[in-house]
Amino acid sequence: MSDSPGLVEPEVAERAIARALAHGGEFAEVFAERTAGMTMAIDESRLESVQAGAGEGAGVRVVSGGTTYFAHVDGLDPDDLERAADEAAAALRDERVEPLPLQAVASTPQPIEQRPAEVPAERKAALLRELDERGRGAGAEIAQFMASYAEVRREVTIANSEGLYTGDDRTRVRIGAQAVARRGDSVETGAETLGGHRGFELFDGDPGEIAAGAARKALVLLDAGPAPAGSMPVVVGGGFGGVLFHEMTGHGLEADHVQKGASVYAGKLGEQVAQPLLTAYDDGRMPNEWGSDSVDDEGVPTQKTMAIEEGRLVSFLYDGLTARRDGVASTGNGRRESFRHLPVPRMTNTYIAPGEAEPEELIAEVQRGFYAASFAGGQVDPATGDFVFGVSEGYLIEGGRVTRPCRGATLVGNCLEALAAIDAVANDFEMKTGVCGKAGQKVPVGTGQGHVRIGAMTVGGTEV
């Protein structure tokens, strides 16, 4: 365990697991969770939307054959757990199964220097006022500026019928800035975020920089012309540009999609899917990174998994259930939004390893193309491989130079083709924070890369 005691005593968890297996099943688990958080925002230079929340509850699941029986309740009293265990077991009709006695397994949570809950609220408010000042001070054409602050502490205790009893203590903080710039009839927006699995010390540097960055993006776009439409080389910026790999490949490597034949990467393990210059990882252990945890939501220690080695597909991402099905070990990717959700294979921090090239070289080699400096987000259908990315900051590349900014571009393409078309990776590696949605569950994920170039991709602008 971590240094804090478990949310549920081992004896209580043991009893709940035994009840969950009262009518059969080969695996049972208790997932207990306590969260406490706070959010606030600044808008029109006024501090507002101050909100504090707390909750606790547990989810109990029983796995029997191909079926998972799951029940969740608010509250962590022994009664609550037994109620959930009985409900999970209610539909089973087999013989009672005896679980193994629990054995505590220690885990080391990410180091937190300054617990956000212990930081006076006035300092959080002051941080937002600083962001507001920096954002509004970036130019007379900044018409609107908003910023938000969020902190959450999430303690979990996980116990299962294989005797595992472990937990984690997770603290995340994140700030976001959004600027609106206006000139005559044109209105443009810019956004930036900063977050980590970290304490308030995350803001020790110059957090106001994200406000200036959001404002700069909005201002640049005031000079933007229409985006081109058609197929052309695309250079993608570092950091949140990594959402490209997250959508294009990461989701297709999640073992649940693969096992259902609903991934274009199914059956491609060991095959060359990208050029040799591309190596990529999912790493849930990166210190204090947004998508990191000590153990995943099934109690498996997180790990660094090489997914693509020099262009070859070498691993899928597994949770416990899909790992058992493939006869391999979980890669520590079993994640859940909360005790109200079942764990499924999910990414943690996913990134393309830095390459050798300088970012400028990637652009200098393009005669006519598009530079997607940053994305607003993306989406993929892992089964068909069709993806789409909204570009939040884009430029035209002409004669090897970045020329003018473009508004309203979207990139569309197909995973396997686009992945194979990555022909350059730069050395300016950076990580950014994101929130990933899958099966109705949102989890924090990190994305990262240096600048990356794709030989050809469809840019969906309005200039035909």
Binding site: M40, D43, R46, E48, V50, Q51, A52, G53, A54, G55, E56, G65, G66, T67, T68, F70, H72, D74, G75, E87, A88, A91, A121, E122, A125, Q144, V180, S186, V187, E188, T189, A229, G230, S231, K260, G261, A262, V264, R340, L342, A376, Q379, D381, A383, T384, D386, F387, V388, G390, S392, R407, G408, T410, V412, G413, N414, T458, G460, T462, V464
Partner: protein
Amino acid sequence: MIELARRAVEATVAAGASDAEAYLSEDVGREVRAHGGEVESLTAATKRGVGIRAWIGHRVGYAYGTDLSEAGIEALAARAAEVAGLADEDEFAGPPRTGGDPVEDLELSDPSVGQWPTADVAELALAVERAALEADSRIAGVEQAVYADAAERVAIVSSTGISGEYGSSSCYAYLQALAESDGGRETGLGFGLGRGPVALDPAAIGREGAERATAMIGARKPESRSCPVVLDPTVAASFVAIVGAGLGAGAVQRGRSPFAGMVGSEVAGTALVLHDDGLDPEGSASAPFDGEGVPRRRTALIEDGTLRTYLYDTYTAHRGGGAATANASRGGYRSQPSVGFSNLVVAPGTLGFADMLREADEGVFVTDVAGLHSGVNPVSGAFSVGASGQAIRGGELAEPLREFTIASDLVSMLKAVRAAGAAPRWVPFGGSVSTPPLLIREMTVAGS
């Protein structure tokens, strides 16, 4: 429940708030996921919680939690009052007033949610999957067939005299079918929704997924061009929901809506008539009162091509000097109310689907869009989103199309609506919307 809410309000006032409001919800639900002829997971869920809004003069704060014991409520009440003290003064912030009597005779609950045993709803999910597999030999599988239902009770009490409680039920089923042919793979979504499982037709849901998937086999990129576009109801609903968000007075008052300053102006083709209807018996967002306890109503938003009003909650109504339209939305006890649409209803026209294709003549029928959350700028209204669908040639559906984008801006798109189809459908993605297919005169299609 209402008694508990009343105690929470009293505790918050005792903790120093000048006014308070408590929102309680209790929710019992279940979900079945089926795959390969077997139940993959069966979930039984109970959720309950309380959210308390506290006002100290013109400062407002919010706290929520799941501990409904007396001590838990008191701690939460104190926390709400405490965080209210952190907020800056906002002269328009204040508690809601009753604004009339809630509608009493809404039928929001279907007994079949409680009466159908789990085995029966599991069979419904399996039947959805089977229907897709049997519909067409090219259906290679179903990624997942899902059934979910919930019965909810909500209570709101405020120190300004609001006091109400109601129950409602809802259910839905959907699947993602996989079609395979010539080495290509396509997916198709089928779905249905209602107040209880009796309202669902598993065969129709499965068939829809199969038809949508097989229709895409052999799809390729269209040529980049500007042309007429027909939006399937699922796609039209996505855009209507974004329009509805832009009509929220909050976005307008803060200069973050493409519809700012346009009340009384032309914003759409006359074929597009849009209402917010919080009382439509079929709408999943219908309720006797909104997220602040103000009685729901029906509000005309766009008629004769003209924007009639924005949507208001108590705060934005104070600020805009108008009357609330009962459009305070809540995403459950964990979020404080903010202005948002209830059910958006696009009035059906008279044009059948075949006639609509004939009107379009040469264009694109869009059946799916992707990347709405990243491809639409809600402030300027400009958008470019990924799309797939079918070509329209000589007024008839032709070859399937994929990997293209459609781009325009919201106001231009609304003005270009030339016709609304005759057959509307409820679509639950991104909010509750009922809309027929829409014919758009011109949009930019970017492909090869």
